[in-house]
Symmetry: C2
Subunit: 300 residues, 2 copies
């Protein structure tokens, strides 16, 4: 029942090629008896001889000849394993599944993807855009490698690293442009348009206004920041959006953007991954790249 070993196959290969126990042993950096023993063991495991030992030469039997080809193939495949592992170790290679929350994705992704593929062209990047709870679940199940969300997440099983801080700005109808910027209390009296349930940005906005939950009457839910801004442009109310979305979202709508005075509302965007992920230290590297891309994006 004793199965043979890879070592024996390597010795066999050497002996098959060199046809000489002593030289094959040298080639394998072992002593000649070790070579003899392992070959014999291999033959015993097989129940047939692979070599015909003449006094002057060692010849492959027909079975040996057959083996030589097959074993060569096997050893090639085995050595390939090492290559595969090395390639995976040296460069960041293959699939990288990134999850991103919807209030960040449209504004950050172009820059991130551009920078990542520039630095690691062999990377196969897959993006998943959904709300934080979904991202956390998929991360835990191993369907995502990392996610970009608002911190903190406070999951012991996850590592988190901040990427950048982003402030929220007020978006109101163009007609309000000249009016003073409302403070938090004043804001509470206005018609505040928010994203639908599930988006963390909704909670962050509410939290800024010191509102526990939305008063159903006065609020209208939108499914994306774009929608909210369009609604503002139509004079339905006001909304908050992250600084980063300003450029893209307010271009085509008749709205005005204003910064709050005093304490700026803001949130921290960060990257998270399973603490146990073998990509962990790779992901730290990727976080750095993303940080750079985000900084460049915000500067523009």
């Amino acid at each position: 029942m004793m199965n043979f070993t890879l070592r024996q196959l390597r010795y066999f290969d050497a002996l098959a090629r060199l046809g000489h126990f002593g030289r094959a042993a040298d080639a394998c950096a072992i002593s000649q008896p070790a070579m003899s023993m392992q070959i014999r063991e291999l033959e015993e495991a097989l129940g047939s001889e692979l070599f015909e030992r003449g006094a002057r030469q060692v010849r492959l039997t027909q079975l040996g000849e057959d083996f030589a080809g097959r074993v060569g193939e096997i050893l090639r495949a085995v050595d390939e394993l090492e290559d595969v592992a090395r390639a995976a170790r040296d460069r960041l290679t293959g699939r990288l599944r990134i999850g991103v929350i919807p209030t960040v994705a449209p504004y950050l992704l172009p820059a991130i993807i551009g920078e990542l593929t520039r630095v690691h062209p062999e990377l196969d990047i897959r993006i998943r855009e959904t709300v934080t709870p979904n991202l956390l679940e998929e991360l835990a199940e191993g369907r995502l490698d990392t996610a970009i969300v608002a911190l903190p997440v406070s999951e012991a099983s996850l590592t988190e690293t901040p990427l950048f801080e982003e402030t929220f700005v007020l978006v109101r109808p163009k007609s309000d442009e000249a009016k003073p910027v409302p403070n938090r209390e004043a804001l509470r009296e206005m018609r505040l348009l928010l994203l639908e349930e599930g988006h963390c940005f909704r909670d962050q906005a509410l939290s800024f206004c010191a509102m526990r939950s939305a008063r159903p009457r006065e609020l209208l839910d939108g499914s994306s920041l774009s929608t909210l801004v369009q609604m503002v442009g139509a004079g339905i109310g006001v909304t908050l959006i992250p600084e980063m979305a300003v450029g893209v979202e307010t271009r085509s709508a008749a709205v005005s953007v204003a910064r709050f005075e005093g304490p700026q509302p803001s949130r921290t965007i960060g990257m998270i991954w399973r603490r146990t992920s073998p990509l962990a230290y790779r992901l730290a590297e990727i976080a750095e790249i993303v940080r750079r891309a985000a900084a460049a994006e915000r500067a523009a």
Copy 2:
């Protein structure tokens, strides 16, 4: 530099399929720590992790996923080696290179080949027909597995086993049919046609006549028994041929065949092979088949 082992690949395969150290260890009939250690060793040899150990589950990393396929292939190929060896051991399979001397080949081969392929249909039989010295050389060099020649050969490195005894008969012109059969002395005075140098049958015929070597004048060399018989039919002289050749060779020529009186000239035909040949015990079996085929042929 330490390379990994087949054993580790088998353990890896089990773990990759079962996703559980304990169960994989059971499947491999080892303890769980042994499994853990070997997997870790494999990972260390590769320099990358193959599994991501979660508290509740063991998941393949991307590299591990890649490995799973490759390792499966490798193990399949390795197990195939065993199959190949077993097939070679159980049945006589593959190539069998038989050398035969020219004074036996045409008469014996049809029966031998027929019988051998009947008993071992998977046998790939190759025939080499040449004179004994060539056969011995090719046998020694491993270019032949066995040879059928006249015994004795008396080479210590070769095993020989007799197949059958065959007597020589006199072939003379049809016109001589009524004359008494000459004895050895009388034969010496006749024009004896012989095979050219190198054929053992030439030496055996000369030896019967108690002649050391042929007297150049009186002899004429032929390159085959057929030629000799044709020459006899043309009235050029007389010749000896092995009993076994009578049926084939004297059919179409105007010759008469006569047995000698008293001590019959004869030779032993046998099979030889390298004592070191791993086919040795197989060849004994083949010799038995050949013996049977020859007996059947001679009976007909």
